[in-house]
Amino acid sequence: MTATTDYDHALELIRRLDRPTQARLVAQVVQELANERDAALRRSHEAWTRLAELREEFRRLGPVSPSAGEQLDLDRQHRADFLEGKIRE
């Protein structure tokens, strides 16, 4: 509701501006949106690269038992069994 009101109010204000100012405003908003998207993509690319390095670091930690995947399965099963009263503390 508030977002709609703010949007309508902003639109009303923009319509009062002359056309060159409206055009400048639109161009600026488009530029800011593009910059935000570029920044998000750059951050994403950096995160993807760092994730690859992190995988290598986990690999160097050597084989673990249980593996992280097995650990997740065990934790979930343990919790379910505990909640369902199949095991006790």
Partner: protein
């Protein structure tokens, strides 16, 4: 769009796991195609918990989810009252486990295909959402059908 269970991300982060290759290939395909992965924020704690407990490395476990959050393909959904209620109904009706149902609820709400290694989760979710194994999802992507 896809919803991936935490078991995919955890295997992706564990190069020694037998399922690592397919889980990594799937996440890489989705990233390269900029295909959205919609997840409940519950996934963050499940990933860090499994990585920290297995590798005994809390710092890298935290880093792993911080980096995942920054990927442009990841959309995190808050586990709010509506989602919790939907998950509760799924646990009752489909006999899903609690956390499993949260993934199903997210997939249903956002029209996503649920990808999981957990057969029970897939079987019980199948009447509610489209479900795939990581292998099947990868084959589908590489086949260009989605």
């Amino acid at each position: 769009m896809y919803t991936l269970d935490a078991n995919i991300f955890v295997r992706d982060a564990s190069p020694g796991d037998p399922e690592h290759a397919v889980c990594h290939a799937l996440i890489a395909q989705l990233y390269q195609r900029s295909t959205m992965i919609v997840l409940s924020n519950l996934v963050l704690a499940e990933i860090t918990g499994a990585l920290s407990r297995s590798f005994r490395d809390p710092i890298r476990a935290r880093l792993a989810v911080d980096l995942l959050r920054d990927l442009h393909t990841i959309q995190l959904i808050p586990l709010d009252n509506t989602l919790a209620q939907a998950a509760a109904e799924l646990t009752a009706d489909r006999a899903l486990r609690g956390a499993d149902a949260v993934y199903v609820a997210v997939a249903r709400r956002h029209g996503c295909t649920l990808v999981s290694l957990d057969r029970e989760q897939r079987e019980r979710a199948a009447p509610v959402v489209r479900v795939l194994t990581p292998d099947a999802a990868l084959a589908e992507l590489e086949g260009g059908t989605r």
